[in-house]
């Protein structure tokens, strides 16, 4: 891997083969996870991480006192957070990349059909009604799906299932649910409930404990893997529905499965960590610049890069100020310079590689 990385560096533009990029992203993700488990107020040496996990699995023997301390820091505090970052980052990025292919538009993000707006309203409603954390999660998830259903229904009402009608339906549905969100905010108790809603909407990786993340990580990773399997079909569909159909792709079926999967896992990210913007738009863009547009490699690489991006954003959110900043703010602030860099390519031709 090293050899090809250096080889790529020496010839002008930074170019690696798609496979070596997958390895680079994979190794970086492992490093990012390990670092994220090490850094924080309570210092943990990097070598202690594998040692600890081996001991946890019963394969090594760590002094009991140290093990207990590390168990508290790593398993109870840092691991849920890091895992949340990984599943949320990979779900958002992977569904963003899939949406961009299905809608043949590199500026699309997973919120296109209104899922994020709906989920935000659901969560706010749950908070305003005083539901517990699980109830809020369910409300966010369900409302996210309802918002997409409303968008699709509007599209069906006029012109069937054409892409442009879906986009417009999603916009209308998104606008509807953001005004519903405003109503909830307006009616919410400004002393207690309103701040909770606002903080929740800014996103946080600190809410879930290990069991909760563990549960949701299963469907979310399954969704990411499923999207990844559709890479070649997405390549074909992104050329145009007619072309894809004559190549032998069952366009309607693939599009339905991909949109449904991406919507489900995006809704789950909102119920797990609130609104975290920009990830689904930017990460696939950057990855595409690195290893090309082919969805078979873009989707898995975006999933890994999204996880790395959120781990990094979370690190910044935790450490840049005395108190923790909501991660949604960090991703938005980080997203802007990245997006400007991407825009820099516009001058050299939007779609150039």
């Amino acid at each position: 891997m090293n050899g090809s990385a250096q080889g790529g560096n020496t010839i002008g533009p930074f170019r690696l083969t798609a496979l070596s990029w997958q390895i680079v992203f994979g190794v970086s993700l492992v490093i990012a996870v390990s670092l994220a488990l090490c850094v924080g107020k309570y210092p943990v040496e990097p070598w202690e991480i594998p040692y600890f996990f081996l001991s946890w699995a019963g394969l090594a023997d760590m002094p009991a006192e140290r093990f207990a301390a590390l168990h508290n820091v790593i398993v109870d505090i840092r691991l849920p957070r890091v895992l949340t970052a990984v599943v949320v980052g990979s779900s958002l990025s992977c569904s963003g990349a899939a949406f961009q292919a299905v809608f043949r538009n590199p500026l699309v993000s997973p919120g296109l059909l209104g899922v994020l707006g709906g989920a935000a309203f659901g969560a706010a409603l749950g908070i305003a009604l005083g539901l517990d954390w699980f109830g809020i999660q369910v409300a966010a998830f369900v409302m996210g799906l309802i918002a997409v259903a409303v968008g699709v229904a509007i599209a069906r009402l006029f012109g069937g299932a054409s892409l442009i009608m879906l986009v417009l339906g999603g916009m209308i549905s998104g606008a509807l649910f953001s005004s519903l969100l405003s109503i909830v905010k307006y009616l919410a108790d400004p002393m207690n409930t309103l701040p909770n809603i606002v903080y929740w909407l800014m996103g946080s990786l600190a809410q879930p404990d290990l069991r909760q993340v563990g549960w949701l990580a299963v469907p979310m990773s399954a969704g990411v893997v499923l999207l990844g399997l559709f890479g070649r079909a997405l390549d074909a569909i992104s050329l145009g529905d007619d072309e894809a159909a004559t190549l032998g792709v069952r366009v309607g079926l693939v599009r339905f499965v991909v949109i449904a999967t991406a919507t489900l896992i995006s809704a789950l990210t909102v119920s797990l960590a609130g609104m975290i913007g920009w990830v689904g738009l930017i990460v696939p863009h950057v990855v595409r610049l690195a290893l090309g547009a082919r969805n078979t490699s873009l989707l898995p690489a975006s999933a890994m890069a999204g996880a790395i991006f959120l781990i990094g954003a979370d690190y910044i959110a935790r450490t840049i100020a005395d108190t923790e900043i909501p991660i949604g703010i960090v991703t938005e602030l980080m997203g802007i310079p990245v997006f400007i860099l991407v825009l820099g390519r516009v001058s050299r031709g939007w779609y150039e590689q």
Partner: protein, 255 residues
């Protein structure tokens, strides 16, 4: 490559009707294509040429009538098996993502590879064979989006060939190409027909149609009103009926 009459692929549109927003576009159009032929479809703007092609490709479903591939109604044929018999080269358009040329051409193997499969060695060989056949091996590693129109047209043609289909449907394959590329594309298509491919193409150039077509068909008022050998059909009267202009005659020599 040469076509054995017993196994010649044929595609027939039989009295197809199609409406858009209740406006009839095709009202009983019939057209046939067999291997070894070049059928040029003429018609003025908005006559429904592209619609007829899309109906014949199974992209649009006719309201009445049927499209028959090798004796079987295409409504009952799986997309994947159709892709092995029938390939589509759409009008030039701006692609959205910078796929590499070899990846675009490899999508022609989709029907063989399947939804979740991987390209085999043989698939890759097919891709390099068709790139070689069209003399575009040097483009293989270039992003599709950086190519000129003429090059992109060849890439899409290569993808169609990679499907292994013997019937090719091309929507205005000459539009957007410069004069040299137009002539070269026509020569290529003639070669393919000689090798046993059946080619159905639309064009806005009656002179070119006269030069390469084995048959010329004209779509007027939703019907194929004129259909026959180029030298019989390409008369000033036909051109006047089609476009309402006087025509001095064919000025391109067949290669």
């Amino acid at each position: 490559m040469s076509s054995n009459p017993a196994t010649t692929d044929t595609l027939v549109a039989d009295n197809v009707e199609f409406r858009r927003m209740s406006r009839p576009v095709l009202s009983g159009a019939s057209l046939a294509l067999a291997q070894g032929e070049i059928v040029c479809l003429l018609g003025c703007n908005g006559a429904g040429k592209t619609t007829l092609l899309k109906v014949m490709l199974g992209i649009l479903r006719p309201y009445a009538g049927a499209v028959v591939l090798n004796g079987q109604d295409i409504a009952a044929v799986a997309k994947q098996s159709m892709a092995r018999k029938l390939a589509y080269v759409p009008q030039l358009h701006q692609p959205h993502f910078p796929y590499l040329v070899r990846d675009v051409v490899a999508l022609g193997r989709f029907a063989e590879v399947g939804l979740f499969g991987r390209l085999s060695r043989a698939d890759r060989d097919t891709v390099s064979d068709v790139l070689d056949m069209l003399d575009i091996v040097h483009l293989s590693g270039r992003p599709y989006t950086q190519l000129s129109g003429g090059e992109r047209q060849l890439v899409v043609l290569a993808r169609a060939l990679a499907q292994g289909a013997k019937l090719l449907v091309l929507d205005e394959p000459l539009t957007g190409l410069d004069y040299g590329h137009q002539i070269r594309m026509m020569e290529r298509l003639s070669d393919f027909a000689a090798k046993g491919y059946g080619i159905l193409m639309t064009t806005h150039h009656p002179d070119y149609a006269a030069a390469i077509a084995t048959r010329v068909a004209a779509l007027i008022d939703g019907r194929i009103d004129i259909d026959g050998p180029a030298d019989k059909v390409m008369t000033p009267e036909t051109i006047f009926r089609l476009y309402g202009v006087k025509w001095r005659g064919c000025n391109i020599q067949s290669s």
